[in-house]
């Protein structure tokens, strides 16, 4: 059964032994960040529920919802020990069911309390500084919803970093390639109002899809329906008729301020470094709707990998790239873009002919995500599981011939967040062909590879099953 809310997911996580309640009183800084960093960094970290927050008797904090492969599997309603490659396959399969449009409802728990004036975001949420040099208190996992002013049927749900700058003022970082930035360009050009709603603490599928690199006019809600296997319920915002997730803990509504930018950030990002402070967009908040207290505030710790963000923006990115490349090259078996949001991307594929690995690497570099993010591209044979780094390193050490299989593309577009840049936004792409050379390439001199016993994969599954069945 898919989850209707974060609360329903937490119940399931607790039943499955994947929820850790922190009962003792915690300080917003540095306790919440420290414990959340630890849970995301360890292998198999649980979901965290901070039950007693110093200063906020009526609020609780939820962290690390996606922060391990076990948690990630549960968010998809899969058995918690589902291997990564199988989670990838399942996501690709469900992706194919798009679209499953949202179901509109007229009442929802998120409307239990409606605040129209004299509210304070500092009172409503137990905000905390995620990392010490962040420029303020950020919502790092909330989902912003807005409509295209030029085509209002086009609605976007995305995760943007949001800084709480005053009782009723937010800063939001919009990069030029984001849908919301395109809406803002239209709103500024036409000089018309642009509304935004921010959904805090959701069914984990909501941020999973909101952080996926979908196409501009794709409907995120219809993708959530496809991934969860049932329509997601939405309710109308108080102002501006935006569809907002009915299961959310809180919806913050406001107007994006046109022709105006103000200091925002910095904020620690997924490469494990701070982005710089810039003049960014602001939102004036004029409505808050929420559940009755005690409210749950879900946020995301970001810092040095690995952590929750690497899981959250992991397999959704892999599936998006895979689907785009598979259209042109059906030989592709799987894509692993998990490392630093795809800075290292591993492609597993059958080889059509010699040199084909370089063709695949170039196709990756022309996908929307691949234009900037990948700097290290490794291509392996189809029999190598790209999610298994032991196998990937085996391919690198026994298939890769540096004098023929290494290619560099200097001065290519790169992620602006890469701290190793010489010129921000430019970098060198490294392509490594770690596949077995095929005709007309020079074959390997010693073709003496050992075959895996035929039923090895079957027995891996069988041994796991028998081990789990043991009392």
């Amino acid at each position: 059964m898919p989850y209707g809310s974060l609360r329903e997911f937490l119940e399931k996580a607790e039943q499955e032994g994947r929820l850790l309640r922190i009962a003792e009183e915690v300080r917003l800084e540095p306790d919440v960040r420290t414990i959340s960093c630890a849970a995301g960094r360890m292998t198999g970290g649980p979901v965290l529920l901070f039950e007693k927050v110093l200063g906020y008797p009526d609020k609780k904090i939820v962290m690390n919802v996606h922060g391990s492969w076990e948690n990630h599997a549960l968010t998809l309603d899969l058995p918690k020990n589902t291997p990564v490659r199988e989670q990838f396959r399942e996501i690709v399969k469900r992706w194919g069911r798009y679209p499953v449009p949202a179901k509109r409802v007229t009442s929802a728990p998120v409307k239990e309390v409606v605040l129209e004036r004299d509210f304070s975001l500092f009172r409503e949420l137990p905000l905390f500084r995620v990392n010490p040099m962040d420029g303020g208190f950020f919502l790092s996992k909330a989902c912003a919803i807005a409509r295209d002013p030029e085509n209002p049927s086009n609605q976007n749900v995305g995760i943007y970093r949001i800084q709480v700058k005053d009782h009723d003022l937010l800063g939001i970082q919009l990069s030029a390639q984001h849908d919301l930035a395109a809406y803002l360009r239209s709103a500024e050009r036409l000089d018309v109002p642009l509304r935004a709603a921010i959904a805090v603490s959701n069914d984990p599928i909501v941020p999973f899809v909101a952080s996926s690199p979908l196409k501009f006019d794709d409907d995120e809600y219809a993708m959530m329906g496809a991934i969860r296997g049932a329509p997601v319920e939405v309710v109308s915002s108080e102002i501006g008729a935006l569809d907002v997730p009915a299961g959310a803990e809180m919806i913050i509504e406001g107007e994006i301020l046109r022709h105006h930018r103000a200091v925002e950030g910095p904020f620690a990002e997924y490469p494990g470094s701070y982005s710089s402070s810039m003049l960014q967009v602001e939102i004036r908040v004029d409505r808050i709707t929420r559940r009755r207290d005690p409210i749950l505030f879900e946020n995301l710790y970001t810092g040095e990998p690995w952590g929750e963000i690497d899981y959250l923006q992991g397999l959704n990115t892999c599936a998006t790239i895979y689907n785009q490349m598979k259209l042109d090259f059906p030989e592709i078996e799987a894509v692993n873009a998990l490392y630093t949001h795809g800075y290292c991307t591993i492609i597993a594929s059958r080889m059509r002919f010699g040199g084909f690995a370089k063709t695949l690497a170039c196709r990756l570099l022309s996908t929307p995500h691949g234009i900037t993010y990948p700097k290290l591209i490794i291509v392996v044979d189809a029999n190598v599981d790209p999610f298994n780094l032991q196998q990937v390193i085996w391919a690198l050490t026994t298939r890769f011939r540096p004098e023929r299989d290494l290619a560099l593309i200097p001065n290519a577009p790169a992620s602006t967040l890469d701290p190793a840049h010489l010129i921000r936004g430019l970098g060198t792409k490294v392509i490594i062909d770690a596949t077995t050379p095929v005709y007309p390439d020079i074959p390997m001199e010693d073709n003496i590879s050992v075959d895996l016993p035929a039923d090895t994969d079957f027995w891996i599954g069988e041994i796991q099953k028998r081990m789990q069945a043991k009392p």
């Binding site: 300080r27 008797p57 009526d58 500092f122 303020g136 709480v164 360009r185 500024e188 103000a262 200091v263």
Partner: protein, 81 residues
């Protein structure tokens, strides 16, 4: 109150913890820095704030608007970068 990040003298308390006496939140009207009274010294004390992260009126003036502001249609000016 002095802003630990940009040294603006107009920073002020904007919020008291709902559970009274636990902490206060302060805010700078120039650089929008907010901080809690109970945070570590390198966050709350101007003289200990990391120089690489310090801001000033001049630094703010040099910042680039992101995304660029688009003027209303018909307005004479070009996009400001």
């Amino acid at each position: 109150m002095i802003c630990p990040r940009c040294d603006d003298q107009r920073a002020a308390k904007i919020f008291d913890s709902p559970e009274s006496g636990a902490w206060e939140i302060y805010r700078c009207p120039r650089c929008f820095f907010t901080w809690r009274s109970t945070e570590e010294d390198r966050v709350t004390r101007p003289e200990l704030y990391d120089a690489d992260f310090k801001l000033s009126e001049a630094k703010i003036r040099e910042m680039i608007p992101k995304p660029p502001i688009v003027p209303p249609e018909g307005a004479a000016s070009k996009p400001r970068y």
